[in-house]
């Protein structure tokens, strides 16, 4: 499926300040066999004094932009054409859940996609007693890792209510889980915490979702902004699979990946620093149009 992706971010600052520096992570990724980017154009307004493109540890594209002069508003615009392959719903050949620890232990290196990075604690997604207990309740004896991941994701979708107003970008996962509501970021962090709690390596995926569903299908939640879902490791044979707990489905060809991280903090669309600035306001607009 080919898409045109449009993103516009605007940040306006109460007190204009000198030397604004931002790190953007919004460019769709090239992923062999899954996603290819045919064109992408990122523009900033006003034009930054410095701009540098680089890859972070996990291989995500980062764009560093710097303005030397005081400014009151920053606009970022992305236009990209992306081809996303439909994933074939194959057979579940994943490892039994109880064999996962051994398979993880056999993986020695620290390459960016090694499961070791995605276990245990990270700043925004640490396993908690409640999430681990919740995840355990979804397990049945003899489950494969794939089944366990799906069971946890679907259970969360049943348990949690999507509410765009209830949380913000800084709401801790524990709070969102206690109240059983939130947006894609909260759903994903909670699912990650659940999976890590039962020993399944889990990562955060930042990306886009097609805005208008195919005829006769409902519009997906989170399509009007950047989206997030979960990537989990189902053993050496199967590797990583992706599930979207907000929409209760595996991430198929409606999904366009920007980057992977341990949690949101590894892949925020924009991380900025303005010296001496007061508060700021931000707005985000996304359009993902299917081209065929």
């Amino acid at each position: 499926m080919r898409y045109e992706v449009k993103l516009r971010l605007t940040y306006s600052y109460e007190a204009p300040s000198d030397h604004a520096r931002n790190l953007l992570r919004v460019l769709p990724a090239d992923i062999a066999g899954v996603q290819s980017v045919q064109a992408r154009l990122l523009t900033c307004d006003p034009m930054p004094d410095e701009r540098r493109d680089l890859l972070d540890f996990f291989g995500n594209a980062m764009t560093s932009v710097v303005w030397h002069e005081p400014l009151a508003e920053i606009g970022v615009e992305l236009v990209a054409r992306v081809d996303r392959r439909a994933s074939q719903p194959g057979l579940d050949l994943s490892s039994p859940l109880h064999e996962l620890p051994l398979e993880i232990a056999q993986r020695r290196g620290l390459a960016p996609d090694a499961p070791h990075h995605f276990l245990g604690q990270s700043r925004r997604a640490a396993p908690m007693a409640e999430t681990t207990a919740f995840a355990r309740d979804q397990l049945r004896a003899g489950m494969t890792a794939h089944e366990a991941i799906e069971a946890v994701g679907r259970a969360l979708h049943r348990e949690m209510r999507f509410d765009a107003e209830a949380t913000d970008v800084d709401t801790p996962a524990s709070e969102a889980f206690a109240n059983r509501h939130g947006v894609c970021q909260d759903f994903s962090h909670i699912m990650i915490a659940c999976l890590r709690g039962i020993g399944v390596p889990a990562a955060y995926v930042s990306g886009f979702l097609r805005t208008y569903p195919p005829p006769g299908q409902p519009r997906l939640e989170g399509a009007d902004a950047m989206h997030a879902w979960v990537r989990a490791w189902a053993g050496a044979e199967t590797g990583w699979i992706e599930f979207d707990p907000t929409n209760d489905q595996f991430a198929g060809d409606d999904y366009i990946t920007v980057g992977y991280g341990r949690d949101y903090d590894d892949v925020p669309p924009l991380r900025g620093a303005m010296r001496g600035a007061g508060g700021h306001q931000s707005a985000q607009a996304v359009d993902v149009i299917a081209l065929d």
Partner: protein
């Protein structure tokens, strides 16, 4: 008990010296056999009359107080300090033994460098199975943005510290490596200054190795790092988390000692991949930073996003190879406790040689065999978090000792190990050697043994690792020689590395390529300028408040009634300044004093210790007075005391401070504040409706009573007062005089004039100056004074915009 010891070993001062059985002692190598290295010192010490010992120790303590050495515990109150706990008897080691220790540690330093290069490079140690991946992947000190980054200059580690202790068999071992931002080197210097006061005689003095050579070598290495590598020249500086940090004093001290700028995160910015210092002359390049800040805080964009003390983009300057960090970002991972379990084997793999100096025996409980070993020997183990980076004796409730959880046993150790093994590490509950500590009593005192560890400092130089010939000893409480006791330890001691023959004094010969250099003081960072500017303003604001409060209480004493109209007017005026006269020492005054002290604390490296102490004394005195001062005469006198202390501070600053930009900003702050306070005062007290006596009060508060009598020989009237306090170019307490001073000061600031023409700031000052130079007193109306205040406010704003941010 009788033993065949020499007479002085039965000396009463040593009678109570009973080393703990089964542990090594620094003073006695065996029962009754004193180590030769201590003998000459101890013989002389025991000969000292008791009162002499007391006096000597007092001299050392006095030095530390005078130097302003203090220790802070991390707290929200940035002004909380406690006295420096020096144990006056040094730890004495022979240079030959020291050389052996340093050889072992040099090997360890190279090993740590190799481990660092691997963890941020090829990752062979993990991929080949020599290190468990979870110890690195789950380690918050392993910084992913540093993976693949080549450090400027080619090395990751430049300044290290090692905490070492002595085993019962007399050999040394390493308790911990300090690689993140090792502290203590500055304290070692201060301890040495103090023991130099206590034992000033040529013996022992001439036989002790000096510390200066080490710092000289490190300073040169830092400079090479900053300017070398073919990259554009930059300077080196120290990066501190700021006054709230527990070793901030040390940062200021060592910055002064090495002649380096002490910078905070907001002093820096990154432009075009280069780290720059914001100075009053604009951004200046920086080549190397000795960071005293944990790496995670350094850059909120790529490292810890919650850091408020970092500099956005610094990681970019590091990645571009334009900025060397001492030590490289991410070096904290080497402090991970569990790493100790693997280092002995890694040493063989990476260097082909076993560790020359062992480290504390450690078992990572993620392995089944290790877990079983720890379980079986839990009685002789400290069991704690594998990822902890603090020293083995800095343990908390999550640590088990001797088979019991310190936080109250919740689950059996065996279950705990089974459930959370991979997050736990067992370390041998080692014992430490003991060293003599003086215990004073009524008549004198005695020497008794206490456990100790020594911190050893190493710096990478062009000639390899250099070690400080000396160190920083931590002393635990008497009696308990387990390493654990150190966490309750309260004292520190100097470490003397002694020679059998006098040590030649440090050669003063210049460095080969150097020769005499008249260095230009580095450009003043904008934040330091800002703090000095505000220090000037706050000190003046204090003085103004003190004079007004004194005037009030003098009149209260004379009239006896706060209802007197002049008093009521003055009270109202003071209330307008936020000062409540019903409090003899008003909270608002204390707040101003604390504000001054806070500004000063941020620039302690930039003015004299005496100035700092005077300010501290001033604030302390004022706080003490709150308990005693009574309204009226008593408070008036108390304010007199404060006034003299303020003038004392001003005198120190103005007599002793080098006339460089820092002094100028301090003086500009004072002049602006004083002119503003005068204008405010005169608006009120020369106004037509002002009660009788107001003019005299204005002259008194402006400290110009005698001048007025001399100049005018008449009673005060509106014209004489305004002439003297506004239009006089020779009265240091007249607005025109202050404006003229401001002009002189501002003219010397960078780019004050462009192509011979005054810049924006000077131009803003000129109309005011001209007007005050030509008008007569009758033109000085409250409205006109109001305009003066507005002009001064505008001027302050322009200065801030141009130089202070």
């Amino acid at each position: 008990m009788q033993n065949p010891a020499s007479p002085f070993e039965q000396h009463p001062l040593l009678a109570g010296y009973r080393p703990v059985p089964g542990v090594a002692d620094e003073l006695f190598e065996a029962e009754g056999v004193m180590r030769p290295v201590w003998r000459p010192f101890v013989e002389r010490f025991l000969d000292l009359p008791p009162e002499d010992v007391t006096q000597r120790f007092e001299r050392g303590d006095q030095y530390l107080r005078d130097a302003g050495v203090y220790y802070r515990q991390y707290s929200n109150d940035v002004l909380a300090e406690r006295e420096w706990p020096l144990s006056h008897i040094p730890v004495i080691l022979h240079e030959a033994e020291w050389a052996g220790i340093c050889d072992g540690l040099a090997q360890r330093a190279e090993l740590l460098e190799a481990v660092m290069a691997d963890l941020y490079g090829s990752g062979r140690l993990v991929s080949e199975g020599h290190l468990p991946p979870e110890l690195i992947a789950g380690n918050r000190h392993w910084l992913r943005p540093m993976v693949g980054v080549r450090p400027r200059g080619g090395h990751y580690l430049h300044f290290l510290a090692f905490e070492i202790g002595r085993s019962p068999d007399g050999s040394w071992f390493v308790l911990g490596d300090r690689t993140q931002a090792p502290s203590g080197a500055g304290f070692a210097l201060e301890n040495r200054m103090a023991t130099g006061r206590i034992f000033p005689e040529s013996f022992p003095r001439d036989y002790i190795h000096r510390l200066a050579a080490f710092f000289g070598d490190f300073r040169s290495a830092l400079e090479d790092l900053a300017t070398g590598g073919g990259a554009p020249r930059g300077r080196s500086a120290i990066l501190t988390p700021g006054p709230a940090n527990d070793s901030y004093y040390e940062h200021t001290y060592i910055a002064r000692y090495l002649g380096l700028s002490l910078l905070e995160g907001e002093d820096l910015l990154v432009q075009n991949g280069r780290a720059m210092v914001r100075t009053i002359e604009g951004p200046q390049p920086l080549g190397a930073l000795w960071r005293r800040m944990d790496a995670g805080f350094v850059d909120p964009l790529e490292l810890d996003p919650d850091s408020h003390i970092g500099t956005p983009g610094l990681m970019e300057a590091v990645r571009a190879g334009n900025l060397a960090m001492v030590n490289a970002l991410g070096a904290g991972v080497l402090e991970t406790r569990a790493l100790m379990a693997f280092l002995p084997k890694i040493s063989e793999i990476l260097t082909g040689a076993p560790l020359a100096l062992p480290n504390i025996a450690t078992w990572w409980c993620g392995g089944a065999a290790e877990r079983a070993h720890v379980r079986e020997h839990a009685g002789q183990m400290m069991i704690g978090p594998a990822m902890a980076v603090n020293l083995p004796f800095d343990i908390d409730a999550a640590t088990a000792l001797g088979g019991e959880l310190r936080g109250g046993a919740r689950i059996p150790i065996a279950d705990w190990l089974e459930a959370e093994g991979a997050t736990l590490v067992g370390q041998e509950a080692v014992t430490l050697s003991t060293t003599p500590v003086w215990h004073a009593d009524g008549q004198g005192g005695s020497l008794r043994p206490s456990p100790m560890t020594v911190r050893v400092f190493a710096a990478r130089t062009a000639q390899g690792w250099r070690f400080m010939k000396g160190g920083y000893a931590r002393i635990g409480p008497e009696g308990d020689a387990t390493a654990l006791a150190m966490q309750r330890g309260g004292a520190v001691a100097d470490v003397w590395i002694v020679s059998d023959t006098p040590v030649p004094p440090l050669s003063l010969a210049p460095r080969a390529e150097g020769g005499f250099r008249r260095t230009i003081p580095g450009t003043l960072p904008a934040r330091a300028a800002d703090n000095l500017f505000w220090l000037g303003r706050y000190v003046e604001r204090c003085e103004d408040a003190v004079r007004l409060i004194r005037a009030y209480h003098l009149r209260l004493a004379a009239t006896g009634s706060p209802d007197d109209p002049r008093l009521a007017r003055l009270a109202e005026f003071l209330a307008g300044l936020g000062i409540d006269v019903t409090q003899p020492v008003p909270d608002a005054l204390l707040a101003r004093l604390d504000a001054a002290r806070l500004c000063a604390s941020k620039v302690r490296d930039r003015f004299s210790t005496d100035g700092w102490l005077a300010l501290r004394d001033l604030a302390r005195t004022a706080h003490e007075m709150t308990a005693t001062a009574r309204p009226g005469d008593d408070t008036a006198r108390a304010m007199g005391v404060l006034l003299r202390k303020i003038t004392g501070f001003s005198g120190l600053v103005h007599e002793n401070m080098y006339r460089f930009s820092g002094w100028r900003f301090l003086s500009i702050g004072r002049a602006l504040e004083r002119a503003d306070a005068l204008a405010t005062l005169l608006m009120q007290f020369t106004e037509e409706t002002a009660p009788e006596g107001s003019l005299d009060l204005a002259v008194e508060v402006a400290d110009s009573v005698i001048t007025h009598q001399r100049r005018y020989r008449v009673q005060t009237n509106r014209d004489t007062v305004l002439d003297l306090l506004v239009l006089d170019a020779d009265n240091p307490r007249a607005i025109l005089f202050l404006i003229n001073s401001l002009k002189d000061l501002l003219e010397k600031l960078p780019e004050a004039q462009i192509a011979g023409r005054p810049g924006e700031i000077l131009r803003a000052l000129m109309p005011l100056r001209t007007e005050l130079s030509i008008i007569e007193p009758d033109a000085v109306t409250p409205d006109m004074l109001g305009r003066v205040r507005a002009d001064l406010f505008h001027l302050s704003d322009l200065i801030t915009q141009r130089y202070l941010r």
